[in-house]
Point group: C2
Chain length 246, copies 2
């Protein structure tokens, strides 16, 4: 069964968390909105789920995953759904809930990263909320980023399966979708706020080690080097505006 | 088994979504941080989970639920965990995923409501970000609130089990935790932005009917009339600042 991932075709954004899981597992999927309209793909195929009158349970926004008749929106819910199917989460309910809880906190950071350049509203351009963005970014760099990274570091310290391992994992001994998402978060921070990220990661060496380890994962590194990996840019969640990284 | 709910003792906040589920199901629970320190409760009991060095899987923030050895943070994850145990979600995986997806979108609205009065940072007072709050609230009232309510209205319209029913449900025919949370969201909007809420709800009559129906639920109405229900105030998520409701 080929999964359909629906997300904006020109940015990594929130779709990248699902994409990384599909790629790391080597799962068959179609990135629908990036495909040709002549094959029934493209943005219009995505918009039919969002705006069409015939979807019984329409997602609020993209990304969403289509698996046969199932339509799953919300990036953390997509991973909750894919995790067991792709072997990217532990088998016990406790491990699954905990991995999801970590993922929801990563999603909270992602929202804060987005709101750093859009503190007033998504309907306005960055330039029209730049003054507010400067203030919000200061708070994010000073308070929020260190607090979140300290929590992830604590989780890695307290995972008993990390003892003696070069590459730590967030949950248990095996790679989970939360590890992939934390990798992506660190990758995004290095792009968007290189100075602040470097400084904050000095105090989170296990997070940095996880990031480095995931980047060497065979399928992940092949994906990152491929054309399927869109480059970061100033339309996505992680944007490089140097004035926000003083 | 008595559940322990840990949340700030003086506000409804994000804890209220779990509290409403526990109350509607008549489940035994202790609101730990509101209890006496002499009984091992109070804020310190909560803080031991957040700051203590001995919790293997510490939540990032409250609210969190303790059920024996299980600790579950993130309000949507708490409801994902409680839903099947309290009979507040359907039995199929499809219903459970869909209910959770709706809950995650409610959580997104709650974050936007919070950021309406704190667009720059939680570490600052409202008064120190009031100008920014005025702008953000305008965007929320004009764009975001109507968009979210229109989506909830669509879900209620498309739920085939709502045909001919006075009180619609978000998923299937029975009360779910998502119904309770949407009730709380509407209740909070009536408190925080009474003018904007009244206007927006005119275009979402099914959402208004759901809200009215939940408020008449036997256990919910008893809870709302009890001292266990904290009043809304200007420390919580939903704050009445008249200047944000023009």
């Amino acid at each position: 069964m080929t999964y359909e991932l629906h997300y904006w075709p020109t940015i990594q954004g929130r779709g990248e968390f699902a994409r990384l899981a599909l790629e790391a597992a080597g799962a068959p999927y179609v990135d629908v909105a990036r495909g040709p309209e002549s094959h029934g793909q493209g943005i219009r195929a995505m918009e039919r789920y969002l705006d069409g009158g015939s979807v019984p349970r329409p997602p609020f926004a993209c990304p969403f995953l289509v698996d046969g008749k199932r339509v799953v929106g919300q990036s953390a819910a997509i991973l909750l759904y894919l995790g067991p199917r792709l072997g990217l989460v532990g088998r016990s309910e406790a491990d699954r809930m905990w991995t999801h809880q970590v993922q929801l906190t990563i999603a909270d950071v992602v929202t804060e990263v987005h709101d750093m350049h859009h503190p007033i509203g998504s309907s306005l351009y960055y330039e029209d909320q730049k003054e507010e963005a400067l203030r919000r970014a200061g708070d994010f760099r000073k308070n929020r980023l260190p607090k979140f990274l300290a929590w992830f570091e604590t989780l890695l310290e307290r995972n008993p399966r990390n003892a003696g391992r070069e590459v730590p994992r967030l949950v248990g001994a095996r790679l989970s979708y939360a590890d992939l998402s934390l990798f992506q978060l660190v990758e995004g921070m290095h792009y968007a706020l290189p100075k602040a990220a470097r400084k904050a990661l000095k105090k989170a060496p296990l997070v940095a080690a996880l990031h480095a380890g995931v980047s060497r994962h065979r399928r992940v590194s092949a994906y990152l080097a491929s054309e399927r990996r869109l480059p970061f840019n100033e339309e996505g969640i992680f944007r490089r505006y140097p004035e926000l990284d003083r």
